[in-house]
Amino acid sequence: MILDLLKKFTTLWVILFLLALFPIFTAAFDLPFWNDVVMRIMLLGMAAMGLNIVFGFGGMVSFGHAAFMGIGAYCAGISQYYGMDNGWYQLLISMVTCGILGLVIGFLALRTTGIYFIMITLAFAQMLYFFFVSLEQFGGDDGLIMDRSDFIFIDLYEPLRLYYLIFFTLVFVSIVLMLLIRSRFGVILQAIKSNENRVEAMGLNPLKFKITGYVISAVICGVSGCLFASWQEFVSPDIMHWTRSGDLMIIIILGGLTYVAGPLVGAIVFLLLEELLPDLLHVVFPSIAENWMIIFGPLLIAVVLFGKGGLMGVVGNRLTRPAARKDQ
């Protein structure tokens, strides 16, 4: 079965392989800063992969998944505030809290469809955002400064320990997703996306599958958020600002939403552009180097207008034979 997964999800495995070797590259060229960038890529990529279960495979446009990242981060932050440093427990708390919240929000939000669903998920995310802004005890708007969590046997202050903790979590999440998407559950979820009525006519309850997908994606975002807190050594409501939910959606669409590896490709491109565009502009138009978004914005529009299926789709179609392209 592992061999089967290896064959089926080549791009994902290649990316994971490169990510595993990346610290060697940064050590050789003495670029420790880039380890930091890549950790952020992996964390946001992980959250986007989680969101993609509902977004890409389930066809539910959730505009509020940054909230689950925030909940995960605050679970770590608040646990530490009360003196519980154990990272594994914090991860567990994050997952359970996000799972329960995902169940409640999913149950309420999935009564609506279309634009109303987009908006109700945004509403719940905004509620949680303002809830944490209101919590003066945990820093309110200013956030909560924290130490890296204590993952027993893994001292996160040792160089690269955090990198590989995030990396192996990402590998774990990837494998879970690969198995999930090919399982009965994954197939039904994708069937619901293409025609919910037919799934119902087959005697299945679509809502049950949609809520399950929603909960799983919330839990994955929570895991990402919990590690994000350790990476940032700081938690603030900013992590769950609605623009981050937007970023996660952009990452997915940029990469290609029908692919398990899509969000990861999207995260790499999105965050690399964020890092490199200012430098690039600095060379070409020094006066607007700070305003890199003026290039990035139209780039997004161009991806939508001309690149169907995101980067994975564009590149994938080039690589596959014309005959194979037909039935896509």
């Binding site: 009564r111 719940f124 914005g297 991806v303 939508v304």
Partner: protein, 307 residues
């Protein structure tokens, strides 16, 4: 807590609500008729505010600023629809979200490059800077009264236009069934472009009017966009009447909550904690309201007939 303060807050709430309505009126039609998720509507507010402020500062005349900004925002909306938006109607919501998110980034940076990152300050003329006594011993700024009046005039005008004119009938028909409307021989493309530009103008007008009250800065439209989306959802997508009622409700809840909740909390909390928690929970109350409405009426309070 005095009755005077409460009255003042009710008026502030009305003013906020009216402003929201001006933004939401166009957006609800864009969402309802074109089924288009247009996130860059907040940028139209910003464009309006900047156009008015820039002209006001250059000519030192507030009225000239408004006069110049109205055609500018209309033209911006028209051009935007023609260049980009019309290619996106047939795409799914995700693509629309992504593309219009890109537009937000683009507009913010254009403004930042042209006018700099700092806020732009333009004063309204001295003739509008005074106070009116709305009740004996209750002074209220003339400028805010003016905003309420202009907003009400716009609301009445939009209502009469939509409910009494031939083009308005096309708009209503488009809101409940676009395909059927097109099949009846109505040029839906021109209709879309016109609605889009008109919506942009009203959003721009809201920006022009609140410009002197708040800071005119890049990204100023986004919080307003999110709130007006809430308004549209509560009111029912495509319903101008629903948008009006919901906008007033949201304006009042948000404004009064911001004042009352900290007071309420101070009765059982320490001062600073209440001052932080109050406004945040007031902002939260808006979204709670929306979630409650959606859970019980999944298509909003006043969904257009046939939708």
């Amino acid at each position: 807590m005095t009755a005077t303060l409460l009255l003042e807050q009710v008026f502030n709430g009305l003013q906020a609500g009216i402003t929201l309505f001006l933004i939401a009126a166009g957006l609800t039609l864009i969402l309802g008729i074109m089924d288009f998720v247009f996130l860059a509507h907040g940028s139209q507010v910003m464009i309006g505010a900047y156009a008015a402020s820039a002209v006001t500062i250059a000519t030192n005349n507030f009225y000239l600023g408004i006069l110049a900004a109205i055609p500018i925002t209309f033209f911006c909306g028209y051009l935007l629809e023609w260049l980009i938006i019309r290619h996106l109607y047939r795409r799914d919501h995700m693509d629309q979200v992504l593309a219009t998110f890109g537009l937000i980034l683009f507009f913010n940076e254009v403004i930042r490059i042209t006018f700099g990152p700092a806020a732009l300050f333009s004063n309204f003329p001295p003739s509008l800077a005074g106070f009116i006594e709305i009740l004996p011993d209750t002074p209220y700024p003339v400028f805010r009264i003016l905003i309420i009046l202009v907003g009400l005039v716009c609301a009445v005008a939009i209502h009469l236009f939509v409910s009494r004119t031939r083009v308005g009938a096309m708009v209503r028909a488009g809101a409940s069934n676009p395909e059927m409307t097109a099949a009846l021989g109505i040029n839906i493309k021109i209709l879309f472009r016109f609605i889009f530009a008109a919506g942009a103008t009203f959003a721009g007008l809201a920006g022009m009017m609140i410009g002197p009250l708040t800071s005119v800065e890049p990204g100023m439209g986004e919080p307003l966009l999110i709130l007006s989306l809430v308004v549209i959802i509560i009111g029912g997508i495509g319903s101008v009447r629903g948008a009006f009622i919901a906008a007033i409700i949201i304006g009042l809840v948000d404004t009064i909550g911001r004042v009352m909740l900290p007071m309420l909390f101070r009765t059982f909390m320490s001062g600073p904690t209440a001052d932080t928690a109050g406004p945040a929970l007031a902002s939260m109350s808006v979204y709670i309201l929306m979630a409650v409405v959606l859970v019980f009426k999944p298509t909003g309070l006043f969904p257009p007939k046939g939708a």
